[in-house]
Symmetry: C2
Subunit: 403 residues, 2 copies
């Protein structure tokens, strides 16, 4: 077992915020002394069970904790997921049933264990302690915080200043997340760097309720394939870890050059020294960014699938896109005519949303057997040859099979 100081050095790598290193050191020292593992809390939203590379940045840190002997606890936020959007103004967050939550949690577990050691993790549901929480208890918790404190949170502040409604239940949700830490009596809470405020509320609440306050640890946010926004399924810029090798390879190849170093670093695929050297060689022209990206994609697919599959994906990718050809193998889909194009594109996942599909169609970016399809409000395909290839942009294909 490593000493507390050695552990701290490992844990500190890639971290954005650590509040505070001194507190963490004390906890690690006690853990070394008593042999009791630290409890690492990570909040999981069961309404979005798809794990992508953005999450993996955190999962890798959790894996480090596990390898150092500590325990990771996934808190499934089922309490709020089962309420849905209480304002009734949004259609995007329908309440989930208990069964849906459990199914999502199962999927979640299956995915995270690609990175994590299932022996050193626990999954808990926060409804377990939030459901029996009385209004009286909540009032007492609420009395520990002020409105001004809550409005310090960056996103709340922006919304308040811009007149975008903040609903009162959002304040309550922040308190509930904080109370999760109390219920778990956890040692460390970790997540993306946009979560720091929430974690600090938890830290304060634990102290107010007579517990040892949790250490707050945040990880950098990985940009999505657009290279700008946070990776997120709802933005359609994500690289899901369940992607098949070919697709995953293609998605990594679509990121802009300037974020490659983040991918190398945050996903532990290269040391800071290696990254620095790569950047220097790209800058001097001795290294082609495209080759670097092929290497990055190969490493990611090797890791999440296998070296063999990565090699095959790379060959296929190079064949198609380097030589302008068509891939030998491509996904197929059975269709029947007439075919509602926009709905179909979204259903098979070629385009994230109908409005995006409409935009692409307008730009002439959707092809049937290499012929751009004409724009219309609600395009319907009524004739089609069996085996025709529907293509979106340069890199997304599907073969249509008439049924």
């Amino acid at each position: 077992m490593l000493s507390a100081r050695e552990q701290l050095e490992i844990i500190k790598s890639n971290v954005v915020d650590l509040v505070t290193p001194e507190d963490l050191l004390l906890k690690l020292e006690r853990s070394v002394q008593t042999g009791k593992p630290l409890v690492i809390k990570y909040g999981a939203d069961p309404s979005r069970p798809d794990i992508h590379l953005g999450h993996v940045v955190c999962l890798l840190k959790m894996r480090q904790f596990q390898d150092l002997g500590h325990e990771v606890v996934f808190v499934i936020g089922d309490f709020t997921a089962r309420i849905g959007d209480p304002t009734g103004r949004s259609q995007v967050r329908p309440p989930l049933s208990r069964e849906e939550v459990e199914e999502n949690a199962r999927t979640y577990h299956e995915q995270v264990t690609k990175v994590l050691d299932p022996e050193k993790m626990r999954v808990v549901y926060n409804s377990h302690w939030l459901e029996p929480l009385s209004l009286k208890d909540l009032v007492k918790i609420a009395g520990k915080f002020t409105v001004a404190q809550m409005l310090e949170r960056e996103d709340f502040q922006n919304r308040y200043q811009n007149g975008i409604p903040i609903y009162l239940h959002e304040f309550l949700y922040a308190l509930m997340v904080a109370y999760d830490s109390v219920a778990l009596n956890c040692d460390v809470e970790m997540g993306g760097q946009d979560q720091l405020f929430n974690f600090l509320v938890g830290r304060d609440l634990m102290r107010e309720m007579g517990q040892e306050p949790q250490v707050c640890l945040t990880m950098p946010i990985l940009e999505g394939t657009d290279g700008v926004q946070k990776m997120s399924k709802s933005l359609g810029n994500d690289i899901p870890i369940t992607d098949p090798p070919q697709e995953m390879f293609g998605r990594v190849m679509s990121i802009p050059d300037n974020v490659m170093s983040h991918y190398f670093l945050y996903l532990n695929l290269a040391t800071p020294q290696e990254v620095k050297s790569i950047e220097e060689r790209m800058a001097s022209g001795s290294l082609n960014p495209r080759d670097v990206k092929l290497d990055l994609a190969t490493r990611i697919v090797s890791w999440l699938h296998s070296p063999g599959k990565a090699k095959k994906a790379r060959q296929e990718f190079e064949k198609v896109f380097s030589r302008g050809g068509m891939p030998e193998e491509m996904p197929e889909k059975n269709v029947s005519l007439p075919l509602d194009l926009l709905t179909f594109l979204v259903d098979v996942g070629l385009v994230p949303t109908k409005s995006e599909a409409r935009r692409l169609l307008k730009q002439g970016g959707i092809y049937l057997d290499n012929v751009p399809l004409p724009y219309s409000e609600r395009p319907i395909i009524s004739t089609l040859e069996d085996g025709a290839i529907l293509r979106v942009g340069k890199k997304r294909f599907i073969r249509l099979r008439l049924t």
Copy 2:
């Protein structure tokens, strides 16, 4: 039974806000048609069970409703009273036990029935529906309101702008008061004009939850004996309705001339026409304000005690204060030497707070046998004749008995 329009005319008298007269008329019309009384909600704080003339302004309006055949429901806010101050930062609001709440509610009932018809009133405790309210229900209620909406409330706005903390539970309390209306499905909520915002939240919530929204009715705020601030026990400027006749008479006589008309009007002791005539005659010098005030005090004591007691109180008052004499009867108190003056003055109720006592002492306003006592930080009386009279200002006396 009066028609709906006739009832509306009576109810509108003295009212500050009525949201909306149209809604109230519809409710009254239905009540006339069906014979079903309207339910009038009034929130009572069981931690402050002392009723003073400021409350009476509302009680009189409730009595009007009763006389028109409607039902008054006192909502005892025991749920929050039993929590106390959850911030733990204030000593002024200790949590009340169930027994204390019930005792206060009993006292409350005893006092309000000096004005109200006990047959047409009901007392309910809001813990009855708030205790079983689940966190999930609360989240749904909270989701109906925004932070910005809450901060529209004048006192919240001022505090937020001046950096004075607003604790989150205060938002929750506003929601709970609103939920009280839902639980009662009341027709009208009424109270002081500073309550309008809270009532409107209740109105909104009822609508959101599919009920007919309550009508919000507010009454003017009666100034305390200082003539400036809202009458309030904690400010020490109140006239409790349980005051003995002599004390009540004296307190009314201590109000400034310029608020007399409010007392006449809001306490239904004179019609607007009478008040106007009194004011004109005072302005022209044909009526002495002092005589008007003696008349006001006499009317109040006659009403809340009896005409006989009012007459006696007036005679006694005139004897003492008009002729500079001392009253025949005065309260007595046993004391032992040395006597801590400030503590004593507060304990016997001659002065509301020590800092006020200190202020009066500085001004030379505290006398022992007609000699002003000298100022010191912590004045101690070490010699004293049995039967000496301790006097504060012109009108507050106590006879000291050495033990």
